[in-house]
């Protein structure tokens, strides 16, 4: 088991290396464009252009350029944005990581807990009105786009009903550092968490319900019934455990993507300066070093999230351990 984990860790490093090479090549070795000109931005003077060329090693072989880039991102951390006049890229990314992590992590806890409850209740009451109601609500949650839902949430909690007892606790939009003000951090994120989680609660609740119902058709469920176990125990101990495998797979993909910047819409609606917002702004101004750094960061999180999913598999399914 230890060996399986170590091997998975090695694979993870290898994948990250591969991603970094590919991303680097896409940005800096695409034929027909001068990366120095793009990094320097529009209307750059020849001196700036020359400085960029030297700084990034564009006058040297490709592998040196790659090495310099990785050094700037991971070792010295002095990758500089020329578009934004000398803004240091790495600290900017590091500053926005806690914002995105707070947002996505809190929402993930919410959606995992709620969707597991919904999935179990719906599967247990299959075809009854409870099941139908839950699945209809789930579909409603999936159908509401997050930018619209977020704005509606803001309209209700920040404006129309802000002065009532119900929402007077909601602070103005924006992020507060957890270390400075834990209570403020929590209050500021409650509405974004709920907004982001609603979509995933719908999806995960429906997926889990389907997986449980499928598991309930398995032969070992009949064995469990023949053993004289209660229906509750059969559902929770035998059907749910095997159904969680599909759930975890989906979670790894969604969590990685969200942390890697897909929470952009939520971040914009709630004025959170997260990774998504940072990437979006960088794309707007064609800020190549910033894009490079955020893409590296995003891919790193997808890879790490997938590795964590594999570790959870190992815990959930003994069949994976030996292979």
């Amino acid at each position: 088991m230890i060996y399986a984990i170590l091997r998975r860790f090695g694979q993870m490093l290898f994948v990250m290396f591969g991603i970094s090479v590919i991303v680097f090549l896409i940005f800096f070795a695409t034929p027909g464009s001068d990366p120095a000109a793009r990094i320097a931005g529009r209307n750059a003077s020849p001196e700036v252009l020359e400085a960029v060329r030297h700084n990034f090693g564009f006058d040297r072989p490709l592998y040196v350029q790659y090495g310099l880039m990785m050094k700037k991102i991971f070792v010295t951390g002095d990758l500089t944005s020329f578009v934004n006049r000398g803004w240091k890229v790495v600290p900017a990314v590091l500053d926005s990581i806690p914002v995105t992590l707070s947002l996505v992590f809190g929402a993930a806890v919410l959606w995992v807990v709620v969707s597991i409850i919904i999935g179990i209740v719906a599967a247990a009451t299959r075809d009854s009105w409870v099941d139908k109601l839950l699945m209809a609500l789930g579909l409603l949650g999936i159908s509401m786009p997050v930018y619209w839902l977020g704005e509606v949430m803001n309209l209700i909690t920040q404006s129309r009903y802000h002065d009532t007892w119900l929402f007077s606790w909601v602070p103005p939009l924006g992020y507060k550092n957890f270390s400075d003000d834990p209570k403020g951090w929590f209050l500021a994120l409650v509405i974004p968490w709920v907004t982001l989680a609603i979509l995933y609660i719908g999806i995960y609740g429906r997926v889990l319900r389907a997986a449980i119902i499928e598991s309930m058709q398995e032969d070992y469920i009949r064995t469990a019934r023949a053993k004289g176990l209660s229906e509750t125990r059969i559902l929770l101990r035998h059907a749910l455990r095997t159904s969680l495998i599909a759930f975890v797979t989906l979670f790894g993909l969604d969590f990685g993507a969200l942390v890697g910047g897909s929470a952009l819409l939520t971040e914009v609606v709630f004025g959170l300066q997260g990774i998504g917002k940072l990437t979006y702004d960088a794309l707007q101004s064609l800020d190549l070093p910033m894009i490079m750094a955020t893409v590296m960061y995003a891919s790193m999180f997808v890879v790490v999230a997938n590795a964590i999913v594999d570790f959870v598999y190992i815990l959930l399914d003994p069949r994976v351990r030996t292979s």
Binding site: Y220, A226, K227, L229, R237, R319
Partner: protein, 318 residues
């Protein structure tokens, strides 16, 4: 009688109408007796025993008739009461050991779970009992086997684990649904020995469902042959094998290759295939495939007579 089934009918509501899977099956079982139930796929042998176990969960199933187990009527018994019997007094072994165990728990855990569902004992006591059980079903290293997951065991070993699980609460009645079908012949023999030995040590009655006449001839005290949801012949093993009466039973026995003497060029087979339960033929269900059918066979359905050895056939009764 420990188990007495009277006029059991199981039907399923389908889009094409009501399908009667079991049509008036009756049988008795004494304590410690082995009853072999033989028939082709779809003859209703498994469904009738699932009905006895209360394991037909299909909401479209309709179960009628009477199943009396030790003076208690099982048809219509509340789910709670039925659950108390299941696994403790009536246990079941399934056909495919590959899929019969939950893949994510160890063998020991799964057997202990059943013991603790019926007896108030501690986890460590339950695990001690599991070790005894695994030794009883001839696991070479019971203590180690307890911590194994199903996928780490061979098919034969898994079936032994399933049997150990079924025996964990000393059931009075063991239902074995083709427990050897999915296994190699050598492993089969081991499992049959085991069933025989367990009948001796636990004095459990066994209902052994199979389509293998050879297995029946080795194991069963009494035999019941089923066709299209009905019992066509019943009798003791010797009666049935030395004096088969129903043409279907004869045909089944005729399709076993002889061990001695000249081998037939081609094994005799029963012409045609089993009828669809949706479109049963008029009269005797076996009629269209029967070599000796005549007028009365098309007119009405033959019924099983009284007596220990009986066949549902107009030719025999005439």
């Amino acid at each position: 009688m420990m188990l007495s089934v009277r006029d059991l009918r199981v039907s399923f509501r389908t889009h094409e109408g009501l399908v009667r899977a079991i049509d008036g099956v009756s049988f008795d079982l004494k304590e410690g007796e082995i009853l072999g139930v033989v028939g082709e796929s779809g003859s209703g042998k498994t469904v009738s025993l699932l009905a006895v176990m209360g394991l037909i969960t299909d909401p479209n199933a309709v179960i009628e008739g009477s199943i009396r187990y030790r003076e208690r009527e099982l048809v219509g018994l509340p789910a709670r009461e039925l659950r108390r019997l299941r696994g403790s007094e009536i246990a079941m072994i399934f056909q495919d050991p590959m899929t019969a165990l939950t893949p994510v728990y160890t063998i020991g855990w799964q057997i202990a779970e059943q013991i603790r569902a019926h007896k108030r004992i501690s986890k460590s006591q339950a695990l001690e009992r599991v070790e005894e059980l695994l030794a009883e079903v001839n696991f070479p290293n019971p203590r180690e086997a307890m911590s194994r997951y199903p996928h780490q065991l061979s098919g034969g070993m898994r079936q032994r684990a399933v049997i150990a699980m079924a025996l964990s609460c000393n059931p009075a009645l063991l239902v074995a649904d083709e427990p050897t079908t999915a296994l190699d012949v050598t492993v089969q023999a081991g499992i049959l020995d085991l069933v025989r030995k367990l009948r001796a040590t636990h004095n459990s009655a066994v209902v052994f469902i199979t389509h293998d006449m050879g297995v029946v001839s080795e194991l069963a005290d009494r035999v019941m042959v089923m066709y299209a949801g009905r019992v066509v012949e019943r009798g003791s093993r010797t009666e049935l094998f030395s004096d088969p009466q129903h043409p279907y039973t004869r045909a089944l026995l005729g399709s076993i290759p002889p061990l001695t003497g000249e081998k037939p060029h081609r094994l005799p087979a029963i012409p045609g295939s089993p009828p669809s339960l949706l479109r049963l033929p008029e009269g005797c269900a076996f009629g269209p495939r029967c070599p000796v059918n005549y007028e009365p066979c098309r007119a009405g359905k033959p019924v099983l007579g009284d007596g220990n050895h009986a066949a549902a056939c107009f030719r025999v009764q005439a």
